[in-house]
């Protein structure tokens, strides 16, 4: 595969097995700054594993991942954690908000992990919550808000550190289509205006329609549909 010029995050020939099951079998990926790429494919095809590898959460068995010219697979666990803290944002399907913290504290959490003071972190967090129209929930705990609201809080949290890549794994999976699309709209709008790239794992076409292009993962192999046509 030829690496498209100006790529922010590039993965080549990724292989990963969990015991006897092969999750990735030579997958490729690339994304530009500000681009939204949907990762599609049937369940069990290795979509999530690809996302985990790209984000440096899971180490591939072989292959290379380059982020902004740095080889992610050569980094130590601590370096990858630091990278995730400062350069990446994450939205998952559910179960990601800390139930004891209020919503604003949840959004501020990544900033605080990066060493910001509590006051400053919560101010920035509140600004993002306003942007995602959930600032009225700041004093509430995740257990007291609806699924759609909680997911917007999660989106706010994924963007609060001004990440260069947001990884979203089925971010609307637990929502109805109305709330799901609203979350996608807010996520892609905010990401585009911040020039952040979004890696969006989904099996729903209407969610994928918010992307700029899609790649399809099947049996651990990826297909970049833009370059095929």
């Amino acid at each position: 595969m030829t690496i498209p010029a100006g790529s922010l995050l590039v993965a080549q020939d990724l292989r990963k097995a969990y015991g006897p099951t092969t999750a990735l079998d030579g997958a490729e990926f690339s994304i530009h700054p500000g681009e939204v790429v949907a990762v599609m494919g049937p369940s069990g095809s290795g979509k999530s594993t690809l996302l985990h590898c790209l984000a440096g959460i899971v180490m591939p068995d072989s292959g290379s991942i380059t982020y902004a010219g740095r080889e992610v697979t050569a980094m130590s666990d601590a370096e990858r954690s630091a990278l995730r803290r400062s350069e990446f944002g994450f939205v998952f399907q559910f179960g990601q908000l800390v139930p004891e913290l209020t919503c604003v504290e949840n959004v501020a959490l990544p900033l605080r992990l990066n060493g910001s003071s509590r006051k400053e972190a919560e101010r920035t967090a509140l600004a993002w919550m306003e942007r995602l129209e959930v600032d009225d929930l700041r004093k509430k705990r995740p257990g007291e808000v609806s699924g759609g609201q909680g997911q917007r809080v999660a989106v706010a949290r994924s963007l609060v550190t001004n990440p260069r890549v947001v990884f979203a794994d089925e971010p609307t999976g637990a929502l109805d289509s109305f709330n799901g699309e609203r979350v996608m709209e807010l996520l892609t709008d905010a990401a585009r205006s911040a020039n952040a790239a979004v890696v969006l794992v989904t099996h729903e076409a209407r969610v994928a329609a918010y992307s700029d292009r899609e790649i399809v993962v099947r049996d651990g192999r990826s297909r970049d549909m833009e370059r095929v046509i």
Partner: protein, 779 residues
């Protein structure tokens, strides 16, 4: 609500507990092991009064002679018994010399046949000791051939050291100073005369029971709640298929019931196992036979009924604040703020119960047992009542900190009750142990102070029998290994001619020994001194004048016996000397005489006592001396001065108590670990998500540590406060000056803190495992 419905729901819960797959089983097993350990401890404690009573009965049955017993004539059913007790290291050995005077002489309990002269029957423990390398010194002392063993009937404990040796000519020994008697049966006729318990001792025993049992009760309460969160989810599923909320509660109670009944079975097993082990153990020189440890049936039935009942009750109470909806579990959103006043009532009530008894211990007044138990229990229960309030109040005020701190504090704020419950057991155990150690330390301190023996000058004393060759005996002791110095003092009381009321103490000793009782300006053999400055002996002053004639016996007695009275004239060159305390702490007056100044016939009426200074760096110095004494006369036992001993005993008690408390704490620590792991598993997905967005593992580990450390820290502070307060009250009750035993406060809180650290460390590997990204995968 019908009984049938109740039993049906309970039975269904029990089925869930036993047949609920691997998860159900683990949960039930955890509960059962927890309850089982508690039950075993309960049974053991209920068995202790029985065991002590059984010991008393056996002791009574084998008792041979008492002071003031009527003398009986020799007959064919009489037996002569002479005490030959000895001490090996710090263990007492019960010894008796026996000589049957006829074919119908009574056999002691547990002995099949009288040992012939030069033979002995021994207890199994003594037999083992004699056969071992350790017993070499004792073997020398008990120089008899072992001809048999004493059966259980004749012993008060499995580890008791005892022997019966056959003797010859013991009737003559009886005439000497040896303690013994001619008897025609064993056993005390006078059964009603058992001594009432020393009130302070009784207090100690009561407090020990309450202090050890309270945490067990708290622990059982915690054990039936193991795995509660998963259970709640299962109950929610039951609601979904149509059971109402009362039914689900009863089903939950049924699960707890099954676990606790299983626990009863396990507990009985643990108890039986522990009973066998108890045979090989001895605590403070007290050992028992397994057969002694029979819990009284009433108490056993009480335990068997109370434990399952408590399990059901605790479950139902615990579910009170939980609403189980078909689609999940809702903990009542914001429980009303905890109130302080009724929580304070408990410990204050406890103090109020104990307060009237302050100062009763010393004048021998008895403590009201119910008030003591009630008061101590209320104080300790007060800890469990106060702790949730303290945790809630403090945690609500905790400010900002790092992310780890914030995560922990927020979690505690949301569920301060659960956190407090988690550490209740530890707090109660620590509070009780602190109070108990203070009490031990205080009471023991007074006992030690009562001894005035100056153990820095001599560590043993031994009497020289009248008429024995003192200098030969002294020589034997001087040659004994480990003896550094011997102070030999011979005493006699010489009378004025006129009456026996007027007498002077004469102390005969060489110059070196005399210097132990008085400050002498100079001394040569042949010198005589008048001891001055004693507060006891004013009479001696006027008799200790030159030329006074003193008599060994008053004139009347001498006339009676027909012997020529022995007299001694106080020499002209008597000099004054300042008296000083002898090694026993006694400041003597009278006349101090060197051997050269005393006529030989007078020397015969003196009785000598030797004070032995030992070189304690020589191993078993005490036992070398005892061996020499036994060689000289088996009926004479040297006295070991005990101030060091007593300190040792306190150390042993403290160690024992610490070990006991540590065991209870370890038990509680185990339950802490279980609930900790359960909580972590609940949060697996969240933990993975947190790691995904770059949370350091250290941060999460620290937050787990804070989450346990904050409530435990508060719990330990409260425990220390309550423990010290209880200890102070108990000390005041025994009329002992209140002194906080800081080492024990620190060691107990230290052990408590150690438990937390260990629990956190043990929960780290699973935590790290849970933080792996696999947790992110949707199932």
């Amino acid at each position: 609500m019908s009984v049938r419905q109740w039993s049906r729901d309970l039975a269904m819960g029990a089925r869930f507990a036993l047949a609920g797959g691997r998860e159900g089983w683990t949960r039930s097993l955890l509960t059962a092991v927890g309850v089982g350990l508690g039950v075993a401890l309960l049974l053991l404690t209920t068995a202790i009064p029985n065991a002590l009573a059984e010991r008393d009965r056996r002791e009574e049955a084998r008792s041979d002679h008492t002071f003031g017993q009527q003398e009986i004539p020799k007959a064919d059913d009489t037996l002569i018994v002479v005490d030959a007790d000895t001490t090996f290291r710090d263990t007492d050995v019960r010894g008796r010399l026996l000589e049957a005077e006829g074919p119908r002489a009574p056999l002691p309990p547990g002995v099949a046949e009288f040992p012939a002269a030069g033979e002995m029957v021994v207890s199994p423990a003594l037999k083992e000791l004699l056969a071992s390398d350790e017993g070499t010194l004792l073997r020398e002392r008990l120089d008899y051939r072992v001809s048999g063993t004493i059966g259980e009937q004749g012993l008060v404990g499995s580890q008791e050291l005892a022997y019966f040796a056959g003797g010859k000519g013991l009737a003559k020994v009886l005439e000497g100073p040896a303690s013994g008697a001619r008897i025609d049966h064993f056993g005390n006729d006078d059964l009603g005369s058992s001594d009432p318990w020393d009130p302070v001792l009784l207090l100690l025993v009561l407090v020990v029971f309450v202090v050890l049992l309270m945490p067990v009760a708290v622990f059982i309460a915690a054990a039936v709640r193991f795995g509660g969160e998963r259970r709640d989810r299962r109950l929610a599923a039951l609601r979904l298929v149509g059971s109402d909320s009362r039914m689900t509660r009863r089903i939950a109670a049924g699960e707890a019931l099954a676990g606790s009944v299983l626990g009863l079975v396990l507990g009985t097993g643990f108890f039986l196992l522990g009973r066998e082990l108890a045979a090989s153990a001895q605590v403070f020189h007290v050992s028992v036979f397994p057969s002694y440890l029979n819990p009284s049936p009433v108490l056993a039935v009480l335990v068997a009924l109370a434990v399952p009942a408590a399990a059901v009750l605790v479950t139902i109470l615990a579910l009170r604040g939980v609403v189980i909806e078909p689609l999940g579990v809702v903990r009542t959103a914001k429980p009303s703020r905890r109130r302080l006043w009724w929580r304070l009532l408990l410990p204050l009530g406890g103090i109020a119960l104990l307060y009237p008894m302050i100062g009763q211990g010393d004048d021998g007044g008895n403590f009201n047992q119910y008030l003591v138990v009630g008061g101590v229990m209320l104080l300790l229960v007060g800890v469990t009542a106060l702790l949730p309030w303290v945790v809630e109040t403090v945690v609500a005020r905790l400010g900002s900190g790092g992310v780890a701190w914030q995560l922990a504090v927020r979690r505690l704020q949301l569920s301060s009750g659960a956190a407090a419950r988690m550490v209740n057991g530890i707090a109660v155990a620590v509070a009780g142990a602190i109070a108990l150690q203070m009490l031990f330390a205080g009471v023991d301190g007074t006992y030690t102070k009562a001894s005035q023996y100056d153990v820095s000058r001599a560590q043993m004393s031994v009497d020289v029998p009248d008429g024995a060759n003192a200098s030969a005996i002294i020589g034997k002791y001087r040659d004994t290994e480990g003896v550094r110095k011997i102070t030999a003092l011979s005493d006699a009381y010489l009378h004025d001619r006129r009456s026996e009321d007027s007498y002077a103490q004469i102390t005969v000793a060489d110059c070196a020994s005399l210097r132990e009782v008085a400050t002498l300006p100079s001394c040569r053999d042949g010198d005589v001194f008048a001891a001055k400055g004693s507060e006891y002996d004013s009479e001696g002053d006027h008799l200790a004048r030159p030329g006074t004639v003193l008599w060994a016996e008053p004139e009347d007695d001498a006339a009676h016996s027909g012997d020529r009275p022995v007299s001694w004239t106080v020499p002209q060159d008597i000099r004054p000397a300042q008296s000083r305390e002898d090694p026993t702490g006694y400041e003597r007056g009278g006349i101090l005489v060197t051997p050269g100044a005393l006529p030989e016939k007078l020397a015969a009426v003196t009785s000598a006592r030797l004070f032995l200074s030992l070189d304690l760096s020589v191993p078993d110095a005490y036992d070398h001396v005892r061996n020499t004494a036994a060689r000289l006369d088996p009926a004479v036992q040297p006295m070991t001065w005990s101030s060091i001993d007593s300190n040792d005993r306190y150390a042993a008690i403290r160690t024992g108590l610490s070990v006991g408390s540590a065991c209870v704490l370890a038990l509680i620590g185990a339950s802490l670990l279980v609930s900790q792991l359960e909580q972590l598993r609940e949060r697996r997905k969240l933990l993975s998500a947190l790691v995904a967005f770059g949370t350091r593992r250290r941060t999460l580990g620290l937050s787990v540590l804070w989450q346990t450390a904050i409530p435990i820290g508060l719990g330990l502070l409260l425990a220390a406060a309550v423990g010290v307060a209880l200890g102070a009250v108990l000390l005041r009750m025994t009329d002992t000056s209140v002194r906080v035993d800081w080492p024990s406060v620190l060691s107990m809180t230290g052990i408590g803190a150690g438990v937390v650290l260990v629990v956190t460390l043990l929960s780290l590997p699973p935590l790290l495992k849970l933080m792996r990204p696999e947790g992110l995968r949707t199932e």
